[in-house]
Amino acid sequence: MSLFGKKQIDTAAVTYISYAGETRQVAVPIGDSVMEGAIKNGIDGIVAECGGACQCATCHVYVDEAFLGLLNPMQEDEDEMLNTTRCPRRPNSRLGCQIPVTKQLDGLIVRTPEAQQ
């Protein structure tokens, strides 16, 4: 039993593929971000220095093309920060903290870059 009482939470499956090719699929609560899904499950490859405030660009991910059309649109600050990531920006680059997980994103696949810092 959890100390804090069990709530039934809807989740979506998100698969994280590391630069080395290691694959992990985890259940991320709807509303949590792709970054939080990684941090809370101890997935390396995402640093998230600022804790999800869109300040540091260390949660850079490459989103599988099949899901690009289902993502929330990118805001200006995320767009600008993606120009300064450690690894090259690609057309499918996003910051994990700016992608809230939705039911539609169930099955989402993201790849993490070789380095974040």
């Binding site: 600022c50 804790g51 920060m81």
Partner: protein, 407 residues
């Protein structure tokens, strides 16, 4: 033989990060993380931002779920105050009477709010923000409040003012200095933020000093200034800075000054004891001297620095300081430390609400404050960290690509 492992006093951002980083480093010995608050370790920045605005729930501020600590064999001791350190036998005692032995002790004891030294400060409705519990209380009180007076025009005060304003309250900020955020930013930023707040309807009073807070039947009713002017208030939010928690270290005979005194590797004079985060008075190459820094970045990077040292990779602490504040739709990001600067150059126009201020000290770039220019901020962190030469003319010329200067 080592076997008592690491005891961490303080379960805020810094203390948490030491535990997490030690396990990531492959450290196998016991880790105890002791905090005096009842919650799971959590992030403080959202308390005055996303949470206060109702965009984030309080559970969402937890740094990790409970299972993380179990899975990583981190003994999390919450709601528990450490009462003393016995350096001879290498043990800390906690309020319950229990003793925890250590090979390495980490003091990540943080800071506490500076209390308002005026008559009436004890009235119901005078609130401070540091903990999650305080944030929840302020959020509840904001529901009922009509007239909010914020005392202190620093980051926390202005973030609370912005949130209260966004929630439709009448808000007045009182600042004793002649400009906003005087400790951290220059005049150009102070003026910009005064315009942002007044443009949203927040009243700003600069260069004023408090006389007293008056109440009605124990509840706050108005704030009186030394010039006799009065501001009605049913909620007073105080953000006038913090004082480091040095008492535990001092009672253990460790050196204290503007915090717990540590060396370049964040060690106290007792080689088994480190101090990190808000409480650590440390030599910082970007300050050109000793400094105490209250920020997430400093907490996290100092934690990582000593976790590496504990597993045998001791190095001097030399991470570039950076900070941020969100107020209304304006993102301010600061890189480096601007104290002692002798020249400020603007890149972009404040009127465009996208600009950066570059601070030079003796001809070298010391710090950059960026408003809605996150690209400048990230480039600045690299430039300052690498000590890259950049002239004031280059800094002020938006056609110069900062990224291209980063070596």
């Amino acid at each position: 033989m080592k076997q008592d492992g690491v005891v961490i006093v303080g379960a805020g951002q810094a203390g948490f990060q030491v535990a997490a980083s030690l396990r990531m480093e492959g450290f196998e010995e016991p880790i105890a993380l002791i905090g005096d608050e009842p919650s799971l370790p959590y992030q403080r920045p959202p308390l005055s931002k996303g949470f206060m605005l109702g965009k984030q729930d309080i559970e969402g501020t937890a740094l990790r779920p409970l299972a993380f600590y179990e899975n990583h064999r981190i003994e999390l001791v919450t709601g528990t105050k450490v009462t003393g350190i016995d350096r001879m036998s290498r043990a800390v005692s906690v309020a319950s009477g229990r003793n925890l032995r250590y090979d390495t002790l980490v003091l990540a004891v943080g800071a506490r709010n500076r209390m308002l030294p005026v008559k009436g400060a004890e009235l119901d409705g005078v609130c401070y923000l540091r903990t999650d519990a305080e944030a929840v209380e302020i959020r509840q009180r904001l529901e009922q409040a009509r007239d909010v007076v914020v005392i202190g025009g620093g980051f926390i005060g202005l973030e609370m003012a912005a949130a209260a304003c966004a929630l439709g309250k009448s808000v007045r900020v009182l600042e004793v200095q002649s400009r906003l955020m005087p400790r951290v930013v220059s005049q150009i930023l102070s003026d910009f933020y005064r315009d942002v707040h007044t443009g949203q309807g927040v009243g700003i009073s600069l260069g004023v000093s408090l006389s007293e807070i008056r109440g009605d039947q124990g509840k706050v009713s108005e704030v009186v200034l030394s010039d006799g002017s009065r501001w009605p208030a049913d909620l007073v939010l105080v953000g006038i800075g913090v004082v480091p928690n040095i008492e535990l270290a001092r009672e253990a005979g460790l050196g204290v000054a503007n915090g717990i005194v540590v060396d370049e590797q964040l060690r106290t004079e007792d080689e088994s004891i480190y101090a990190i985060g808000d409480c650590a008075d440390h030599p910082n190459p970007f300050a050109g001297g000793r400094v105490r820094i209250e920020s997430v970045q400093n907490a996290v990077d100092q934690a990582k620095c000593i976790a590496a040292a504990i597993v045998g990779r001791a190095e001097n602490y030399r991470a570039v300081p950076w900070f941020w504040t969100d107020q209304f739709d304006i993102k301010l990001q600061m890189a480096g430390l601007s104290s002692g600067h002798d020249r400020v150059v603007a890149r972009g126009e404040p009127e465009s609400r996208k600009f950066s201020a570059f601070y030079f000290r003796e001809g070298r770039l010391a710090a950059v404050d960026s408003v809605n220019r996150p690209g400048d901020h990230l480039a600045a962190r690299k430039l300052i960290g690498a000590g890259t030469e950049i002239t004031p003319e280059q800094a002020g010329d938006p056609s110069v690509d900062l990224k291209s200067l980063v070596g």
